[in-house]
Subunit: 360 residues, 3 copies
């Protein structure tokens, strides 16, 4: 029997001025909306960025993918239900047609001189198997840099990701705080991460860890990633660096030498207007070992291992979102300095959520 007479301790928790879960992703960046293979020639793909419906369109003739507001200017139904005609899309309802710039180029029952306003177009890129758009101010547009090591032939890259029912900031905190290895105890045995230090700038932060196995044997999936270049070196020499460079994250692992053996690039695109969902797009690049074919042979085990890890992470961050929904604000008590810094960075680089109606 535990008749503790203490008052609830939560009354003592200082509430932060800013609720991080109500900060929106800043739209002046490139955000992935789909995998290239999800959009076939002559077809459309319905996506969303923070509640804005966006249609991706791939012309039949090999033309570049383009992105439009996914609703007809006439009656607001999704253009993604329409028909691709050359480098244009015709709405399925009354046949209004828009070109890649969003301009209305045909209404079957109106003269060409009377055509109404069109729809919004988004700058669009296709790179390394991803289709990305620039949802923000087109005047602020920047070039899209490399996505991790996905372009590097020295690596084999696995593409993964799913919709996750949580605010994107939970994803950043999850990956950067390696003290959460306890969550993956069934997959990774007893690993003791050691925090080595951090560096930071205005829109980036980088945290270093070393790893030592205190118990249990190394699982196959982990071995595949780490062992290729290590030879007989000690486990404690493994170095991991996790970096948030707004709005993306990377995780690199070195076993020796200057080049990482693993390079993960990951982005979290907000889906709904409240940004309580994100679609995660991950590019996991593993350096090819010297023996050709070994990595391909081992690939199914690596896929299984990373899927399990990702499933556990997804489950826990979705629990965090549900707790936030129930509590109505952020009650977290963060004691780990890198995560405190990360939270400040995410708050400073995001923008207040305005909701769909106000943003248009």
């Amino acid at each position: 029997m535990s008749d503790t007479l203490d008052l609830p301790t939560r009354q003592l928790v200082p509430q932060p001025d800013i609720d991080l879960r109500r900060i929106g992703s800043h739209p002046d960046h490139w955000y992935p909306l789909a995998w290239s293979k999800e959009l076939k020639p002559g077809k459309t793909y319905a996506a969303q960025f923070a509640g804005e419906p966006i249609v991706l369109i791939r012309p039949k003739d090999g033309g570049a993918v383009f992105a439009l507001e996914d609703r007809c200017a006439h009656r607001q139904v999704p253009l993604s239900k329409g028909v691709v005609e050359g480098c244009a899309v015709r709405c399925c309802y009354h046949g209004w047609t828009y070109d890649a710039s969003g301009k209305c180029i045909d209404v079957p029952y109106l003269g060409k001189d009377k055509l109404p306003n069109g729809v919004r177009a988004y700058p669009c890129r296709e790179q390394d198997g991803l289709i990305l758009i620039w949802p923000g101010d087109p005047k602020a547009i920047t070039e899209l840099g490399p996505l991790g090591s996905a372009h590097d032939k020295a690596f084999k890259t696995r593409r993964f990701g799913k919709q996750v029912r949580c605010h994107y900031t939970f994803m950043h905190e999850n990956l950067m705080d390696m003290n959460h290895q306890f969550l993956h105890r069934r997959q990774m045995g007893k690993i003791a991460p050691r925090y080595l230090g951090r560096r930071k700038g205005e829109d980036w932060i980088e945290v270093d860890y070393s790893f030592a196995r205190t118990e249990g044997s190394q699982p196959l999936g982990e071995a595949l990633i780490l062992s290729s270049r290590r030879g007989a070196s000690k486990v404690s020499q493994d170095l991991m660096t996790i970096r948030t460079e707004y709005p993306y994250q990377t995780l690199r692992i070195w076993t020796s030498g200057d080049e990482p053996v693993m390079h993960l690039w990951i982005a979290y695109t907000p889906v709904d207007a409240e940004q309580k969902f994100n679609r995660t797009f991950g590019l996991l690049s593993v350096r090819r070992p010297k023996i050709p074919g070994l990595l391909d042979l081992a690939w199914p085990a690596l896929v299984w291992f990373t899927e399990r890890i990702f499933a556990e992470d997804r489950e826990i961050v979705e629990m965090e979102q549900r707790a936030h929904d129930a509590q109505g604000s952020d009650w977290n008590v963060e004691v780990f300095p890198p995560i405190r810094d990360l939270r400040a960075l995410l708050a400073a680089n995001g923008q207040p959520m305005t909701g769909l109606a106000k943003s248009v």
Copy 2:
């Protein structure tokens, strides 16, 4: 790559003063709540009009169907769960009993002199296979006229309809704007409707179209409706008139002569308090051809054809409702004059939605 630097065009869309999707159906009309065959003798049928629960009751002995507020005055549980006793209904919970006028005529544990207030009764009619009620002011009651040509032996009538997840006004606009034939391109081939003109009054509007087939062959279902009387006449002589006579709609097709070959009567009963759902009741009457039995033989094909058309219409109007929900207001840009007139008519003849609590 399509880096259009235009600002969003939607900022330029003028917003109407009235959001048509927040206008309620005016209750001072007859509205169908069920098909006759859905209510067996001695049974009840639970329906709703704009969020008001209404029970239809058919006595065992062949008495007329009557309609009551579908909640016991005592503890508010549905009377539709109760037991029909003669021309009365007994609540399933504590046995309070109401007659066809809504008067409480028995509480098993109270003296007859102490009986409490009853429940609301609604004027009720049964005609042409439909059960209709008058949800509005009983003092404003009018006679119920014919429902299309369902009463006419010269026609064979098909009854169809389902719950549709949209405001009833989307249904009116969908049917009246024949430029939406593009939606049915798979069912109807390439048809070019030609707008001929319109007439209007205070609570009605009527639009004429002619039709020409520009491409493809005529589908069987369409032929069944149109060909019976046409003989060798040109397609362009087909005339279609669509009429909204508040709150109903009709669509008539003439191939020659004064009598239509097809007469559709259709009503959209609002279901929920926000009127984001409607139950559609359609009576599609097709004139019987001179060869007896031909229409019956062809009926399954006609059913299939109209079901397909209705399914496509339902899908698109439900998309319109979802777009309205997401946008929070009506962003439509209407360029077709008959639809502009129709919208004004629907706004003028409806009434503001007050919600359930305020209306009682």
Copy 3:
């Protein structure tokens, strides 16, 4: 045809000042959260009281069950997903650990001198197969009395209960108003309850009924409960007393003598913050007949009978909740004096609902 021209009668219903369905269960009582058998040694059990997440933990070594706030002080994820270690629980995410008093006793990556605040602990008892907690002010704590006759060897006790989608007050009213026997007409034949009188105090009310069967034969389940001691006595001598002693209810039946033949104890624990769900925990104790084994033999029939009755009650109280949700307030017209008194008692002994956010 029933063209009643009466205006809606509901406009005349006087609205009470207090909406009983917005009164919360007073937390200064013992409330069951789980059956003992639902919580195995070394395991956790996730429960809720009025929206507060609470984890029950049973140590492996036979130690007493304890109850904590079911969210880690760090990142708010459920401790019920964690690992039981001795008389403590380790959070599944970053491994923060709490003892039975809620004190944080370990954060793997922090020194013992830097440990943060812990979580709230709730007084907890296990008795007669139930696990109960005290969700209110620990300073107001009282001893937990007997739960009906579940402790009495002269009775055989059946444990039953499920989550019911309604405010707990509907449960109290349902059980106390025996005029609702009409609801159970299929199970119990035609029974005419006769109200004999009531007694009351500040936090209790007790109502007596006698029963006479007016029609139909006695079902087996009912006979099992009543006939064991009655012999040839008349049905009309059966006495039933239903008592609400805040927040519990009991129902006792006497056929003769001073000792009841049946004793039901029942509690309704509010689940969600709005208290629109309750979990019902019932202990139905039936006096063992003189012939040993007879009751055990008949038990399956009794289980079936009581399950059917409970299913009907659950269906109807859930309808009452839905009606309240639709109407937005309590429109009930209560004419039975004991229920009027019961409503006043429940209102006076409860407390306003404050919602989760405000209560912490």
